[in-house]
């Protein structure tokens, strides 16, 4: 590399963000880890003395307390909320894919002059507040809300659907909020697809549907994977949507963490929940990376 040109103050460039991230990302994260393995009574603030011993690894290991993890494992509530989070995130991802793929495909097939405007239209809701988007659905889904009024007004249903505070409401809110994250990578992948490939497929005797299944779909797999990751990952840890649209039985893990922290003020337990949640998230990411590497190796 051009070492000569960057001798003087060049080392400051990585150093400044490096120090910032060490201080405000890595250290806090280490504290969470430490906290996850400590007792509730000693971990309540102020707990600075315990923090002081943090540097001594031996002491740290000796003081490890797996009670919190044991509690998490024993308490069915946490198991259920983890599984429930995965389920909701998975369903959200599938639904977003089912709605997002045709939309992205239609956008990519639209005349070039439209595409920019369509793209802006997809991104625009993302720029408005997350809370606003969820709030809009409250007005629609709540009892005597717009949806019920419309359906009953049209004579399609006789009585209110009572969607508010159900799993369906949570799913609608989640799909709605995360749809752009699915559409954008799909659109990017489908748009760069060479149209002449489809023409070649047609020239070789493939019907449009066969051409889609044998050419377009396989080539858009990277976009599908990226979109699914972008939806699934934040969906697992989502807190606001299940809290506002879900009922008392829709305890997702983000909500459990929030409750543990703010309502029960059990910081070590909240930390333990966070650690397990992170493990839960890292796993699919690693699998995705594996899949990508395998594809890269094959190509």
């Amino acid at each position: 590399m051009s070492a000569t040109s960057r001798q003087r103050l060049g080392w400051l460039v990585p150093l400044i963000p490096y120090l910032w991230l060490l201080a405000f990302f890595l250290v806090p994260f280490a504290i969470v880890l430490r906290m996850a393995f400590s007792h509730a009574d000693t971990a309540l603030p102020p707990y600075a003395p315990h923090f002081a011993g943090f540097a001594a690894i031996g002491e740290f290991l000796a003081a490890l307390d797996l009670d919190n993890l044991r509690l998490l494992a024993d308490d069915a509530l946490y198991w259920q909320s983890y599984l429930y989070s995965l389920r909701i995130a998975g369903l959200t991802t599938l639904l977003a894919l089912a709605i997002g793929y045709p939309l992205a495909y239609a956008m990519a097939s639209a005349p070039k002059s439209w595409r920019g405007a369509l793209l802006v239209l997809v991104i625009l809701p993302f720029w408005t507040s997350f809370l606003i988007r969820v709030y809009a659905w409250i007005g629609i889904l709540r009892p005597d809300g717009l949806l019920d009024a419309a359906l009953m007004g049209l004579g399609l249903t006789r009585e209110p659907l009572r969607l508010m505070n159900t799993e369906a409401a949570v799913l609608i809110g989640m799909v709605y909020s995360y749809l752009p994250f699915m559409v954008l990578p799909l659109f990017a992948e489908l748009e760069k697809l060479d149209r002449s490939l489809l023409e070649a497929a047609a020239d070789l005797g493939a019907r449009p549907w066969t051409a889609f299944l044998t050419v377009t779909l396989p080539l858009s797999i990277p976009g599908v994977l990226a979109g699914c990751a972008l939806v699934f990952i934040p969906a697992v840890g989502e807190f606001v949507i299940p809290d506002l649209l879900g009922g008392p039985d829709t305890i997702m893990i983000g909500k459990a963490l929030w409750t543990e922290f703010f309502s029960n003020r059990d910081w070590p337990l909240a930390s333990a929940v966070a650690v397990v949640l992170l493990v839960l998230l890292v796993l699919p990411l690693v699998l995705l990376q594996r899949a990508r590497l395998a594809r890269g190796g094959a190509a």
Binding site: P14, P17, W20, F25, V27, A106, T128, I140, D144, L257
Partner: protein
């Protein structure tokens, strides 16, 4: 150019209806004279007047705006440095850890980021308030800003920087006179993104804030939990309007710049 089939048109219409109908309904009902969501009581700007008299909400909005500006600026500066480090410095010690730390906030659930930063502030006995939220927002937007700027740097012709140095510019001078002017659109986009992320965040702010620093999302959240109110609709409509104006202005500006570049 191939014409769109009816199936694809349906996909477009249905997709965009799903995206926009809820927002349009929300806007419509901010002008409803009636307090009831399902009853149209006639057009009224009553709720906007009420909103203007809602001091706590206005205070929170003002605080959020200041906070977002400061944290977005911090995140953009740090993100630019991080992007330069990743795109230009090649291999340096701890690069893997560095890029991991830059990118981790992108996949980190907000609850965890918020919790961990709160624990840090408590451990370090830092008084929580405006600055702790600012630091938290800058930290989690940094990664997003870095990605945006790095993408621009990767597509950047290195020989431009070499030409500047060849003509006698020091590395710092090269950055100011060549690199920065050319990555400027990405830097601006990164700042806008960081600003939006900050204005949008509820979870991290809830963890890291202290007394006297209640952000707009926090106020909205507690109001929304209590139920639907046209006053909130009015607040949301104003925010949507501001965003729409900003996005349209930005795209027009970009278009004009492109046109100016093309026909001169």
């Amino acid at each position: 150019m191939k014409r769109l089939g009816p199936g694809l048109i349906l996909a477009l219409v249905a997709g965009f209806a799903f995206l926009y109908l809820p927002i349009l309904a929300l806007i419509a009902y901010s002008f409803n004279a009636s307090r009831l969501v399902t009853v149209w009581g006639g057009f009224s700007t009553h709720w906007y007047g009420a909103l203007m008299r809602n001091e706590p909400l206005l205070d929170a909005a003002w605080l959020s705006l200041r906070l977002a500006c400061v944290s977005a600026t911090l995140a953009t500066v740090l993100g630019t440095l991080a992007a330069l480090a990743l795109a230009r410095h090649g291999r340096f010690r701890g690069r893997t850890l560095f890029s991991g730390m830059v990118l981790a906030p992108l996949v980190m659930p907000e609850v965890i980021t918020g919790l961990s930063l709160l624990l840090l502030f408590v451990a370090a006995e830092i008084e929580r308030g405006f600055w702790t939220v600012t630091i938290a927002h800058a930290t989690f937007s940094l990664g997003f800003a870095c990605i945006v700027i790095q993408a621009r740097l990767v597509g950047f012709d290195r020989s431009l920087e070499e030409a500047a140095q060849d003509l006698g510019a020091t590395p710092l001078m090269t950055f100011w006179t060549v690199t920065l002017p050319l990555i400027w659109p990405a830097v601006a986009a990164a700042w806008m993104l960081a600003l939006t992320l900050s204005l949008d965040d509820l979870v991290i702010a809830s963890f890291t804030t202290g007394p006297g620093a209640t952000t707009l999302p926090m106020r909205l959240y507690s109001a929304v939990r209590l139920g639907v109110s046209p006053e909130i609709n009015a607040a949301c409509t104003l925010m949507i309007g501001a965003v729409a104006v900003a996005v349209i202005a930005a795209s027009l500006l970009l278009k004009r710049e492109r046109m100016a570049g093309a026909d001169k």
